[in-house]
Symmetry: C2
Subunit: 308 residues, 2 copies
C-alpha cells in the first residue's frame, strides 16, 4: 500500500471551492515544492461539484473522516469544528484559506490566507509565483471554485484579484464561453428536487460559536426561493431534529436566489431578537427576508456575530 | 497632523527581527501594494537593534502601546498577549509571522506565515516576488533580523531559505564581511554589564499559557554564561518580584552562550517536575543545564508544552 506523507483537504460538507482547492493545492505542493501529498475530501461531491468534475474529467476524491498521516494541509477552512475528527493529533503543516481565523498550533507552520473571493483564486496566484503551469483540468477546477464561491463574480466577496484570475483560468481551462459554463455550473447546484429536506439543510452547513452558544448556518442556492419555501414544513422538521441530535442552539437556513442576488432564511432557535437585529427585519412564520444577501461569510456571519 | 491608515508593529520587548520586519513590511506594503502604513514599535530598541540602526543610519521607531488607527498589521507575533493593549478593538488586516499560532478574528485577513528562521527572511522573499528593490538600509535591517534570530545561521530554526537569503541581503546591504558584521551585531546584544537585573529578565521575555497557568520565559544572549550567573541572587529577586506583581505562575530565564550554542536557565515557580522532565535535567540551586539549546521557540517552548 502506498502511503503519502501529507493529506490535503477542505471543510466538512465540501463545496466546489473546497474540492478544487484541495486538488489544486496538492498538485502545487507536489510539483512546485516536491512534497508527497494526496488530495482527499470529508464527503462526496455535491451536484455542482460533480458537474465540474465531469466537465473536466476528474474523479471524485477519496473520502476520509480522520487522517492516518503525520501531516495535513488544510484548505478553505481553519476551524477545528469544520475539520477532521483527529485534527488535534496530527501536525498541521500548512493552510490555504480565505475565511476568518480561529486557529492555534503548538509549532510554526505555513499559512497563506487572503481575504479574496475563493481559495481557488489564491492558488491560481501561487501557481503564477512558482511559474508552475496549470494542467487544463486543474485550471478548470480552480475556475469552477472561483465561479462557485463568487457566484460568477456577483458576490460582494469578489475582489479585483478574482476578476483578473477568471479570464486567465478560463483560457487555461479552454472554456470559451465562461458565462455559459458558469451559469451551467451554478444551476447544476440548484437542482434541489432530487435532494431530501435533510440533504438540503446539511448540504453546505457550517457550525459557528457565538456568545458561547452553537450556531448552525446552512445555505442553498436556487433560481426560485418559493420552490424551496414550499418545503418549509419538512425542512423545519429536519432542522429541529438536528438541533436536538447535535445540540445546535440556533439554526439558520439561508436560501439564496443566485440570479437576482437575494436571500430568505428560515430560523429556529432561541436568538430571535439577535437574528432580527442582525438583519433589521422581522421573522414571519420563522422566515426572515435578507435582501441583497448572497454571502454567508460576508453578509450573514459578521452581522450575527455583532449581536453576540 | 498626518494620520496613516495602518500601523505595522512587532511584539512587546522588541528584538532586532521584530523591528526590522516592521520596517520591512511597512515599506513593502507602501511601495508594492500602495498602502498607507507606518512602522512603529512597542518599546525602545535593545542594544543589538540599536547597533543595526546605527550601522545603517535608521532612526528608532515611534513607540506605541495602543493603536489609534483603524487597521493594524502584526509582524513577528500573532498572540494577543504579545501585542498592543487595544488589539481587540482594531482590525487586523494582515500578519507576517514565523511563530506558532494562537489567533482568531471575526473577518478574513492576509496571513503570510512560514516556519523559517526569521520574519526578515520571509519579507526578503516577498520583495523578490513583487520585484521590489530593497533600499540598502532595509536590506541591512532584514539582514540583521535574520542574523539575530538565527544566531548567524547557527540556530536549529535555520532553514535553507535563510541560508540562501543571507548572502543576497548582505550584497544588497553592501556588507562585505557578513561574519564580522554578524558577530559585531550579536556581541552588541551581549553587553549585559550596563543592564540592570530587571532589564535582563525583561529584555526579550514573552508570556505563554501552559496547562491553564502563565509561563514567563525570558532569554539573554551572552559570550560567558558564568558572568550572568554571578548575578543570580539579584536576578532571582527581580524574577520573584515580577511573579508577584504580574501573576506569573512560572518564570524561566534562559541564558544562552551564542559562541558555543549552549544554555543554562534559572527557574522559579511551581512546575519543577515539568521543567526537569522537559529538559531531562536537574534543578540545582534553581539552575538547569540546557546543552545545545539556543532557540526558545524550537527547543524551550515545545518540550515544556509537552509536559502540560
Amino acid at each position: 500500500m502506498i502511503m503519502v506523507n501529507t493529506l490535503v483537504f477542505g471543510h466538512k460538507n465540501p463545496d466546489t471551492d473546497t474540492i478544487a482547492s484541495a486538488i489544486g493545492a496538492s498538485y502545487l505542493l507536489n510539483h512546485a515544492y516536491g512534497e508527497d501529498t494526496e488530495a482527499v475530501a470529508q464527503g462526496k461531491p455535491n451536484a455542482e461539484t460533480q458537474f465540474a468534475l465531469d466537465y473536466f474529467g476528474v474523479s471524485p476524491l477519496r473520502i476520509i473522516t480522520s487522517a492516518d498521516t503525520e501531516n495535513v494541509v488544510l484548505v478553505d477552512h481553519n476551524e477545528a469544528a469544520q475539520s477532521i475528527d483527529n485534527l488535534a493529533d496530527v501536525h498541521v503543516a500548512g493552510i490555504y484559506d480565505h475565511h476568518k481565523f480561529a486557529f492555534s498550533t503548538s509549532t510554526p507552520l505555513y499559512i497563506t490566507a487572503k481575504p479574496w473571493g475563493s481559495v481557488s483564486t489564491i492558488l491560481f496566484y501561487e501557481y503564477k509565483q512558482n511559474n508552475l503551469e496549470l494542467p487544463r483540468e486543474i485550471a478548470g477546477l480552480l475556475l469552477s471554485g472561483l465561479i462557485s464561491d463568487t457566484l460568477l463574480l456577483k458576490s460582494p466577496t469578489t475582489t479585483d484579484f478574482d476578476r483578473q484570475a477568471l479570464p486567465e483560468l478560463a483560457k487555461m481551462a479552454q472554456v470559451e464561453d465562461v458565462n455559459a459554463y458558469g451559469l451551467g455550473l451554478l444551476k447544476a447546484g440548484t437542482d434541489l428536487s432530487s435532494r431530501s429536506d435533510k440533504e438540503l439543510i446539511d448540504g453546505d452547513a457550517k457550525s459557528f460559536e457565538m456568545g458561547g452558544k452553537s450556531f448552525r448556518i446552512g445555505q442553498v442556492n436556487t433560481v426560485d426561493i418559493d420552490d424551496v419555501l414550499a418545503r418549509q414544513a419538512g425542512i423545519e422538521s429536519e432542522m429541529q431534529a438536528e438541533r436536538q441530535a447535535e445540540g445546535y442552539d440556533n439554526f439558520l437556513f439561508v436560501i439564496t436566489d443566485i440570479l437576482n442576488s437575494n436571500s430568505k432564511a428560515i430560523f429556529l432557535g432561541d436568538a430571535n431578537a439577535e437574528v432580527k437585529a442582525a438583519f433589521a427585519g422581522d421573522l414571519v412564520t420563522n422566515v426572515i427576508d435578507l435582501p441583497g444577501v448572497v454571502s454567508r461569510k460576508k453578509q450573514v456571519v459578521p452581522p450575527l456575530e455583532k449581536q453576540f
